[in-house]
């Protein structure tokens, strides 16, 4: 294959942003290897101490395994994307600067994956878990001009985000019981406690649910096939080695919290088996490249979940090993799909065939990846199935048989994918090749070759993989665990099971008539009544509900006011119910000038009622003025001359402005806009006769509630220690005599400054509103 010569790929090699992210991932990979060999490290810093949160990271076995995955697969996929993304943008006629919507999120994603892999605190785990969901939202929705991408991005965010919330609830339950979020401490506490209580089981189930949703397990798997709307490198990274791996990572990390409950581990077994079966069966029926791979991912993570359900040394070690082997193979296959699409423009298996003639190198390296996934010898994949068979057969015979069927399914859909792509007759694709075959950038094949090479290496020299899985199992179980794999040329159980699986797979491949109707029926049933439907109708329902609330709340001022008053009133009422009433209310004494105050307050109350009874705007304004001036007099009588003077001034100004507004356009004289447009004015008052008693009632209730609250608060005994004496004492020091003035200008000067700002903002608002009117 010749060196890349096209404009786009030449541009790709110059893109410093892309290469920076790719090199950072590579650097992270090398650093992770060194750290792992060095024995890891632990970082434990206080974070939010009142909440008992700590920044607790530990680069242990699990941390090493997933950090190596995130950075290693990341480096390969990013290198691939340096060539892929410019072509992708080119095809969509999008500007090159859109790569800024891609690379930073990819980088942040791998960083949060590494953080997630090492986090030792449930809340920290939740935060990083959610961060990966946020990144995935932007990455899946990268082709934001396409509706399918946007829908898929939102679905992934909502579904996995809801999962993250269940994890937080589980964490909160555990914290309530044991007073810590730290996973190692919780594990210790739970094991000392003995058999799991119901609350522990619920908490463990919630955490497990979050993990299962993230790993796209049945029945909440539907977001993953939709997420295939993402550009291929995103699928290859997120949906093989990172995002979906985060789920089983959480299971591995919190395993000691989950294993105390037999219910939860049994649940893992059931969900995992269902995912293997449903994912595998539907994968066999799909036509789109990435759809086949997405359903196979669901099925493959089902294996891992089953292994954690089996548990123990065999289960935990096999699960860790499986994750690595699967990630290598699956990301290589995803990248293969992307390269084929780039080369031919096809996206479906029915559109291609016989590509090995044009793309021999790609055919060879992806055959290795397929062999790894279907567990053929000489690849690391063989050992993943050996461990799987061993654990399953040890658990029970039934599970052993099921595991053979599962492996047969894997064999069938993997080779169906590969043979349809590369073997058979060359099919004419109705679309013109997007990229001439002879100009396909080499970088669209080399990363796949690198991943396949790694898979072959693992098949021959399995020691590093075995050590990695053993370390991860040690971290998962909390005590030393080792993984042993080897080729045994004997009729051992595992070998016989593998032979059975290959035979079954070959049979499935050779005779599609046997299973195709059933699998198609399953897929159709899933589309018609499956969980995706529930999600859609749930989302629609929420949309309608929010529109209905919006209509009620926003389209009518009255409802908006009621929406504030009513909950406020209910809260006050609850407060009253909860508060003891004995001695809470005092009448107080009336003496001296108080009689004048009482008289003025009576006048104020009468004037306030008058305001409500009249519809004439001028009377309203005048009655308002009586209220304001009456209160000003009350303030003067209570020894507050400053307040009285200001109130007098403000009242005068407000009255004048109010009168001006009212006098400017007498009410009812002008035609309304509706009448101007030729509509007949509708009789409102009659239509709302039922409301005649409603508003006064609400007003009376509000007034009554206000009265009770004010009375209760004024009846509280006076504080013995007061700041007033201090303030009076300090007033001369502030060069003033009026204590109120000094408080405003000096002691609480900042308040006054903000107040002046508010006035200034209001003045600007008034000017803006009035100057554009015809009145000025």
């Amino acid at each position: 294959m010749p060196a890349p010569t096209t404009r786009s790929s030449a541009h790709a090699q110059r893109d410093p942003l892309a290469w920076t992210v790719a090199l950072l991932a590579l650097g992270g990979f090398v650093a992770s290897i060194l750290l792992w060999q060095d024995g890891g490290f632990t970082l434990d810093e206080p974070w939010a101490q009142q909440l008992d949160l700590r920044l607790h990271f530990s680069f242990d076995g699990i941390g090493a395994l997933y950090a190596l995955l995130a950075t290693g697969i990341g480096a390969a996929v990013f290198t691939y994307a340096t060539a892929y993304l410019p072509l992708h943008l080119d095809h969509q006629r999008r500007p090159a600067r859109d790569r800024w919507r891609f690379w930073p999120w990819m980088g942040l994603f791998s960083l949060s994956m590494v953080g997630l892999a090492t986090a030792q605190d449930l809340v920290l785990l939740f935060v990083l878990f959610d961060l990966t969901a946020v990144c995935s939202y932007f990455l899946i929705g990268f082709d934001r001009q396409e509706r399918a991408s946007r829908v898929a991005a939102l679905m992934a965010l909502l579904v996995t985000g809801a999962g993250a919330v269940t994890m937080l609830i589980g964490a909160a339950i555990l914290y309530a019981d044991h007073g810590t979020f730290s996973i190692p401490e919780l594990a210790r506490a739970l094991h000392e406690q003995g058999p799991a209580s119901t609350t522990t089981t619920v908490a463990a189930a919630l955490i497990a649910a979050a993990a299962l949703i993230k790993s796209a397990q049945v029945p909440l798997h539907f977001w993953l096939p939709r997420a295939m709307a993402a550009p291929t490198p995103v699928s290859a990274y997120l949906h093989s080695a990172a995002m979906v791996a985060a789920g089983v990572l959480v299971i591995g990390r919190t395993y000691q919290l989950l294993e105390v409950s037999q219910t939860v581990t049994d649940g893992l077994l059931v969900v995992g088996l269902l995912s293997i079966a449903i994912g595998g069966a539907i994968s066999l029926t799909r036509d789109g490249f990435k759809q086949v791979l997405a359903y196979s991912t669901i099925s493959q993570y089902g294996y891992v979940v089953v292994l954690y359900g089996i548990g123990g040394r065999a289960g935990a070690g096999a699960a860790a090993f499986y994750v690595v082997a699967h990630a290598l193979a699956k990301s290589a296959l995803f990248l293969t799909a992307g390269t084929v699409t780039m080369a031919t423009g096809a996206r479906k298996l029915s559109q291609v065939g016989g590509l090995w003639r044009e793309l021999p190198l790609l055919a060879a390296v992806s055959a290795i990846a397929a062999a790894t996934l279907s567990a053929l010898p000489l690849t690391v994949g063989f050992f993943k199935d050996e461990l799987f068979f061993h654990a399953a057969a040890d658990h029970s015979t039934a599970l052993g048989i099921l595991s053979v069927v599962a492996a047969g399914l894997t064999f069938a859909y993997t080779w169906r994918f590969w043979t349809r792509l590369f073997l058979g007759p060359r099919r004419a694709c109705d679309r013109a090749p997007s990229q001439p075959l002879d100009r396909l950038p080499l970088l669209l094949t080399l990363p796949i070759a690198a991943l396949s090479l790694l898979a072959i290496t693992g098949g021959i020299w399995s020691a590093p993989f075995v050590q990695l899985a053993g370390d991860a199992a040690t971290a998962t179980l909390g005590h030393h665990a080792e993984v042993h794999v080897a080729y045994r040329l004997a009729a051992s159980t595992e070998n016989l099971m593998a032979l059975g699986a290959w035979a079954l797979g070959a049979l499935l491949l050779a005779a599609p008539a046997l299973w195709r109707p059933a699998a198609l029926a399953l897929a159709h049933a899933g589309e018609r009544v499956g969980p995706a439907r529930v999600y859609e109708s749930g989302l629609n329902f929420l949309n309608h509900l929010s529109t209905a609330f919006h209509d009620v709340e926003v389209r009518d001022l009255r409802s908006r006011v009621a929406a504030v008053l009513l909950p406020g009133g209910i809260l006050v009422l609850l407060g009253f119910i909860a508060t003891p009433t004995a001695g809470a209310f005092t009448v107080g004494s009336v003496s001296g000038t108080d009689l004048l105050v009482v008289a003025m307050l009576a006048l104020v109350a009468v004037a306030a009622i008058v305001v409500t009874t009249t519809h004439e705007h001028v009377s309203i304004v005048l009655a308002l003025a009586v209220v304001g001036l009456g209160l000003a007099t009350v303030y003067a009588l209570l020894g507050a001359p400053d307040v009285a003077l200001v109130a007098m001034l403000v009242e005068t100004v407000v009255t004048l402005v109010f009168l001006a507004i009212v006098a400017y356009a007498p009410r009812g004289e002008r035609p309304t806009r509706r009448e101007l447009e030729g509509h007949a004015s509708r009789p409102h008052r009659r239509a709302h006769r039922s409301r005649r008693w409603r508003d006064p009632l609400i007003g009376a209730i509000a007034g009554g509630a206000a009265f009770l609250v004010v009375w209760a608060s004024l009846s509280r005994p006076a504080a013995t220690e007061r700041v007033v004496d201090q303030q009076i004492e300090l007033t001369p020091a502030a060069h003033g005599k009026d204590v109120v003035t000094v408080i405003l200008a000096d002691f609480r000067g900042l308040d006054t400054m903000v107040e002046i700002t508010v006035i200034a903002v209001a003045v600007f608002g008034v000017i803006a509103l009035l100057r554009r009117g015809r009145s000025w």
Binding site: R555, T586, A602, A608, I620, G639, H684, G699, L708
Partner: protein, 136 residues
């Protein structure tokens, strides 16, 4: 006196709450004014001491609590700003929409929003059909 203050504040607040719920924008503004008056009255009456004005020299008698007076001043001035803004909005609404009836304004707005949404829907349908054509 405690009871008297509470009754007065309650009556003024209730009148304000009733007015805010009415159909006429001018009365709504009047209601807001009354509610803020009631609040100022509560602040002033919550003073711990009552007596002469807190202006030096105060003599032997305890003066009125100056702290609540400072707060009441702030509340009054903010109330003025809010009232001015509300009145300006009222003037503006009448100048442009020629109505101060809350229900009528709400209905007009609802119709306007419906029109907007309809045109938006038409646009979406157009886009969708374009996409479908491209697919074919």
């Amino acid at each position: 006196m405690t009871l008297i203050f509470a009754i007065a504040a309650g009556v003024v607040f209730g009148a304000g709450a009733f007015l805010v719920l009415t159909n006429d924008l001018v009365r709504v503004v009047a209601g807001m004014v009354l509610i803020s008056q009631s609040a100022v009255l509560v602040v002033i009456s919550s003073g711990l001491t009552r007596g002469d004005a807190p202006i030096l020299p105060t003599g032997d008698k305890t003066p009125s609590d100056p702290l609540v007076q400072a707060m009441a001043l702030t509340a009054i001035v903010i109330g003025l700003a809010v009232t001015a803004l509300l009145l300006a909005i009222v003037a503006r609404v009448r100048a442009t929409l020629r109505s101060l009836e809350v229900r009528e304004l709400a209905r007009d707005e609802a119709e306007h929003t419906a029109e907007l949404e309809q045109s938006l829907d038409t646009m979406h349908e157009q886009l969708a059909s374009d996409e479908a054509k491209e697919e074919q």
